[in-house]
C-alpha cells in the first residue's frame, strides 16, 4: 500500500493551500522540488491529475518559487517522487474528498453517488453542473492537511503508471528553455575570478592590464578575495576574466597537496572514526572457519561536469532581492543568501529556472550568491553571472575520493561468517546550510568570513554520505562498518549522484565476486545464496535471465561478463546490471542489461530513461573520470582533461522495470549508477584475469594491474 505515515514534505508544509489552488481552468500545484532533468515535474503532474481526476493539461505546476512553493529542502537523493510526490498525492486526495463532501451536501445525496471526471462532478455518471472551480470558493484551503483522505487504489490508476510525455521536452527541442536563455534588457554581465585553492590570497592583480585586455569598459569589483568583472558588454567582461586568470598571483591558504586523494593520503589524514556492528557481536564464533580475505578498493575525486556552466540572475530593488537560479534547494538558498548577505529571509525571493542537468551539488548556488552580492552593489540593475567552463572545473564542489577496505572470514560453507568494511572519506555533503555553513564559495572569499563550523557527513539515518550503501545488503551473520570521516581535506567536498554509494557498491560487489571465485561458485548463484528476501532475488534473476547469464556461452578471448547489484541506500530501488566488455589495453562496453524494481512506477518510460542515464553515467564514472591536481589546484581546464563517456563508447542497453504497483514508489534516479560500475569492474576482472581495484578503469590502470604481480 501507499505510505500511511505523512511524508516529510507534508509535515514541513502542512497547510493545503501551500500545495494547491484553483485558477481559471487549471489546478495549480506548487512543489518545492525542481526539474533537474529527471522529469519529476511530469511525474508530479501525473500524480496530481490522477488523484484529482483531472487531465494532466489541467494541472499547472509551480516549482521552486519561494514566494509560492512549499519548502522542500533539496531536490536530491532520489526523494522527489517518493516524498514530494507522496505529499502531492495526499493533498490532492484530501482536497478532492473535501469538495466531494461539499457537493454531496449541496445536492443532498450520498457521496458514494458522486464521481469526478476532468474536474467535473458527476452524480451517478451524469453531469451536475458543478466542478472544482465552481465549488472551490466554498471551502477554505488554509487548513492543515490531515493526510487521512483515502488515496486511489493503484488498480484504478489511469494516468499514473502510463508514460506521459515529458512536459518540458517540447521547449527543449526548440532550444531556449533554460535560465541561460532569459534575456533581460540592460543586464549587467558579470564574470568571476575564483580562488585556485582554499583560502588563497590574491597577492597581485594588474587591473590596468585586465582593463586593457577587455578592449571595452569593464568595472572590477574587488572585496577581499572576491573579484568580479562587470559591464554592459559581455565579450569585454569575458576577456577581462580570461586575462585576470592569467595575471592573478595567489599566495597563502591551503593548496591541494601532492598525492591528494590517493588511498595512502586518505588513510594518513586525521579522522573521526566510529564503528557500527550488526548481527552477532564480539568474537568471531569458533565454528570451523575458512580463509580470511582482504581487499582494498579506492575511487578518485570526480566533478559533476554538467554540460552547461552555471548561471544566475539577481536584482536588488526596494530592499528586496530577487534571484533566478537553477539551485536544487530554492528555499534553503533563500535562507542562506539572506544570512550571508545580512538580509531577512522575507526580503529574498528565489525563482527556480532550469539549468543543465545537475547530478549533485553544482555551482548554481555559488552563482546565485555572486549575482546577489553584485546586485546589492548596483540597486535596480539585473546582474547576470555566467561561469566559464574552466571555473566549473576549478571551483565546483568536488565529489570526494574514498578508500574502502573489506575483510571477510569465510565459514566452512564458503559464505562470510564475519564481514568488515572500513571506509576513509571526507564528507559528501556541503550544500548551502549544511553543518551550519553557507558553503557559498565566494562567501569565504570576502573579508572576515564567518568561521567554518565542524564538518559532518550525512547521517546514516538520512542515507549516509561515505557510508551510503556501505552496509552490505546480503544475509551476513556479522557485519562491522567503520567510518573514518576525514574533516580536514582542503577542498569543498560535496554530493555527486549517489554520494559514497557507487564506490561502496563497486567495492562490495567486486569483493563478493572475489569470494565467489574462492568458493568456486558462479557469482550470481553465490549472491542468491546470500539473499533470502524474494524481492532482490527477483531483480537479480531477471537481469540474469535477460542477459542469458546461465547459458554459459563461452566469450571470446579478452571478453568478460560481469554482474552488479544493489538496493540504493538499502531502502530505495533495487537494480541489477549485467555488462559485457572487451578489454585489451582499454575497456570497451559491448552490451548492458539492467533490471530494476522501484515499486509503483509513475511513468514507465521516464523510469527507464532514469535507469539508462544512471547506467551511462555510472559507466563514465568508473571508466574515465578523475579530477587531477597540479600546483595545488584542479588541473582540469577543458573536457580534454576530464573526459566523459561519448556516443561511440556506449553500447546497446536493455532495461526491464519489474512491475510492482502495490509497493510504494522507491527512489530510482541514482539506483543504477553503483550496480553498473560494479558490473563493469567484475566484467573487466573476468576478461583480464586480474582485478582493478583502484578507479578509474583507464588504460593506465589496466596496464598497471597487468604488470603487477
Amino acid at each position: 500500500m501507499i505510505a500511511n505515515t505523512l511524508p516529510l514534505s507534508l509535515t514541513d508544509n502542512p497547510i493545503l493551500s501551500q500545495w494547491i489552488a484553483f485558477e481559471p481552468g487549471k489546478v495549480r500545484i506548487a512543489t518545492g522540488k525542481v526539474e533537474i532533468g529527471q522529469g519529476i515535474l511530469t511525474a508530479m503532474t501525473q500524480i496530481a491529475a490522477e488523484e484529482l481526476d483531472v487531465r494532466p493539461d489541467q494541472v499547472r505546476i509551480v516549482s521552486g518559487e519561494t514566494d509560492v512553493s512549499p519548502s522542500e529542502y533539496f531536490t536530491s537523493g532520489s526523494y522527489s517522487v517518493s516524498v514530494g510526490g507522496a505529499a502531492i498525492r495526499l493533498v490532492c486526495a484530501e482536497v478532492r474528498s473535501i469538495l466531494l463532501d461539499k457537493v454531496a451536501e449541496a445536492l443532498r445525496c450520498p457521496v458514494g453517488e458522486l464521481s469526478v471526471e476532468e474536474g467535473q462532478f458527476l452524480r451517478s455518471g451524469k453531469a451536475t453542473g458543478r466542478d472544482y472551480w465552481s465549488m472551490a470558493p466554498a471551502i477554505n484551503l488554509d487548513r492543515r492537511a490531515s493526510g487521512t483522505a483515502p488515496t486511489k487504489s493503484p488498480s484504478k490508476y489511469k494516468i499514473v503508471g502510463k508514460s506521459l510525455p515529458r512536459l518540458d521536452l517540447p521547449a527543449k527541442v526548440k532550444g531556449a528553455a533554460f535560465i541561460h536563455d532569459i534575456a533581460v534588457k540592460g543586464v549587467v554581465h558579470a564574470r568571476m575570478l575564483r580562488q585556485p585553492w582554499k583560502d588563497a590570497r590574491l597577492a597581485s592583480l594588474d587591473e590596468a592590464a585586465v582593463c586593457k585586455a577587455a578592449k571595452a569598459p569593464v568595472e572590477i569589483l574587488r572585496d577581499g578575495e572576491f573579484v568580479a568583472f562587470t559591464g554592459d558588454n559581455e565579450q569585454a567582461v569575458v576577456r577581462a576574466a580570461e586575462a585576470a586568470r592569467e595575471l592573478a598571483r595567489w599566495e597563502g591558504g591551503t593548496p591541494a597537496p601532492d598525492g591528494i586523494g590517493s588511498p595512502e593520503w586518505l588513510k594518513a589524514q586525521p579522522a573521526r572514526s566510529r564503528t557500527v556492528e550488526q548481527g552477532e557481536k564480539g568474537r568471531v564464533p569458533s565454528r570451523p572457519l575458512g580463509r580470511t580475505v582482504t581487499a582494498r578498493y579506492s575511487r578518485p575525486f570526480l566533478t559533476y561536469g554538467s554540460i552547461g556552466p552555471s548561471c544566475a540572475l539577481a536584482e536588488f530593488k526596494d530592499s528586496a532581492l530577487k534571484v533566478w537560479s537553477h539551485t536544487q534547494g530554492p528555499s534553503i538558498l533563500r535562507d542562506w543568501l539572506a544570512k550571508a548577505l545580512g538580509l531577512e529571509a522575507r526580503q529574498v525571493t528565489v525563482l527556480h529556472r532550469q539549468g543543465a542537468g545537475a547530478y549533485g551539488h553544482n555551482t548554481a548556488d555559488d552563482c546565485a550568491f555572486d549575482a546577489s552580492y553584485i546586485a546589492m552593489k548596483m540597486p535596480g540593475r539585473t546582474v547576470r553571472v555566467q561561469l566559464a567552463r574552466e571555473d566549473e572545473f576549478l571551483s565546483a564542489p568536488i565529489s570526494t575520493a574514498m578508500a574502502i577496505e573489506l575483510t571477510a572470514v569465510l565459514g566452512a560453507d564458503n559464505k562470510p561468517a564475519d564481514w568488515q568494511i572500513e571506509i576513509w572519506s571526507p564528507p559528501h555533503a556541503q550544500r548551502p546550510g549544511m553543518n551550519g555553513n553557507s558553503n557559498f564559495i565566494s562567501a569565504a572569499a570576502l573579508p572576515n568570513p564567518p568561521p567554518m563550523k565542524e564538518l559532518n557527513d550525512v547521517p546514516d539515518e538520512r542515507g549516509g554520505g561515505a557510508t551510503r550503501n556501505g552496509y552490505a545488503i546480503y544475509d551476513l551473520p556479522r557485519h562491522r562498518l567503520t567510518h573514518h570521516l576525514l574533516p580536514d581535506a582542503p577542498l569543498r567536498t560535496s554530493s555527486l549522484r549517489g554520494l559514497g554509494a557507487w564506490a561502496n557498491v563497486y567495492a562490495i560487489e567486486g569483493f563478493i565476486d572475489e569470494l565467489a571465485e574462492i568458493a568456486g561458485e558462479d557469482p550470481v548463484t553465490y549472491r542468491l545464496s546470500l539473499l533470502s528476501d524474494p524481492r532482490p532475488r527477483k531483480v537479480i534473476e531477471t537481469a540474469a535471465q535477460m542477459s542469458g547469464w546461465f547459458d554459459k556461452k563461452n566469450l571470446p578471448e579478452g571478453h568478460g561478463r560481469g554482474f552488479g547489484f544493489a538496493r540504493y541506500k538499502n531502502i530505495a530501488a533495487f537494480v541489477a546490471v549485467v555488462v559485457d566488455v572487451e578489454v585489451d589495453e582499454e575497456v570497451r562496453l559491448k552490451r548492458i542489461w539492467a533490471a530494476a524494481d522501484a515499486g509503483l512506477v509513475i511513468s514507465p518510460d521516464g523510469a527507464k530513461n532514469q535507469v539508462e542515464g544512471g547506467v551511462i553515467q555510472g559507466a563514465s564514472f568508473v571508466m574515465k573520470e578523475r579530477v587531477r591536481f597540479e600546483n595545488g589546484r584542479v588541473a582540469a581546464k577543458t573536457w580534454e582533461d576530464y573526459p566523459i563517456l561519448r556516443f561511440s563508447e556506449i553500447p546497446e542497453i536493455d532495461i526491464q522495470m519489474i512491475d510492482n504497483p502495490n509497493e510504494p514508489t522507491l527512489g530510482l534516479g541514482e539506483g543504477a549508477v553503483g550496480p553498473t560500475g560494479a558490473a563493469i569492474g567484475n566484467a573487466v576482472a573476468r576478461a583480464l584475469g586480474k582485478r582493478v581495484r583502484d578507479l578509474p578503469l583507464t588504460r593506465d590502470a589496466i596496464m598497471d594491474t597487468l604488470l603487477k604481480e
Binding site: 510525455p165 526548440k174 567552463r389 539508462e612
Partner: protein
C-alpha cells in the same frame, strides 16, 4: 566595429559587431536567438553547434567577421511556422532528452547528417554525434530518434 551581412534561418540580417566576436554571442545577444548554447567555448562539447552553409560548425569560436554572405541555421530554424521538423518530432516520440541542454547542438548535427545521408547506419549516426557531450545519458534514445526519422 564592423558591419556584417549574412542570413540566419533564411532571413537577411546585418549586425554591427567587433569582427572577432563569436557567432554564438551575436546569435544569442544581438539577434535574440538563444537556442544555441554556451557550453565550453573550446569546440569540445557541441552545445553551440549551428549550420553554416549547411555544415555543422561551432558557433562559440566562429568569428562573426568571417560570415559575410553566408547562411547560418540555428535550432530556431529547424521548425517552420511553429511546426516541429520531423527530426524534432522524432526526439519527442522517443523522449530523447533529460535535462535537454545538449539537444540544440545534437539536433543541428543530426539534421546535417540526414541531409547528407537520409538513411544513415548506426555507425554513421554515432560518428556524426560523437563530438557532442551529453551528461544525462540519453545517447541511445538520440540514436533511435535519428533512426526513426530516417525510417531505418
Amino acid at each position: 566595429m564592423s558591419s556584417v551581412e549574412f542570413t540566419v534561418n533564411g532571413r537577411s540580417v546585418r549586425v554591427e559587431a567587433e569582427g572577432g566576436s563569436p557567432l554564438l554571442s551575436v546569435l544569442r545577444d544581438e539577434l535574440g536567438l538563444r537556442g544555441a548554447k554556451f557550453g565550453c567555448g573550446t569546440e569540445q562539447c557541441g552545445s553551440c553547434m549551428v549550420l553554416i552553409d549547411g555544415e555543422p560548425a561551432y558557433s562559440c569560436t566562429h568569428e562573426i567577421g568571417t560570415l559575410t554572405g553566408r547562411a547560418v541555421t540555428t535550432i530556431e530554424g529547424l521548425s517552420r511556422d511553429g511546426a516541429l521538423s520531423p527530426l524534432q518530432q522524432a526526439f519527442l516520440d522517443e523522449q530523447a532528452g533529460q535535462c535537454g541542454y545538449c539537444l540544440s547542438g545534437i539536433l543541428i548535427a543530426a539534421t546535417a547528417l540526414l541531409k547528407k545521408k537520409p538513411k544513415p547506419s548506426r555507425a554513421d549516426i554515432v560518428e556524426a554525434l560523437d563530438p557532442h557531450l551529453c551528461r544525462c545519458g540519453i545517447h541511445n534514445r538520440v540514436v533511435r530518434a535519428v533512426q526513426r526519422v530516417s525510417g531505418a
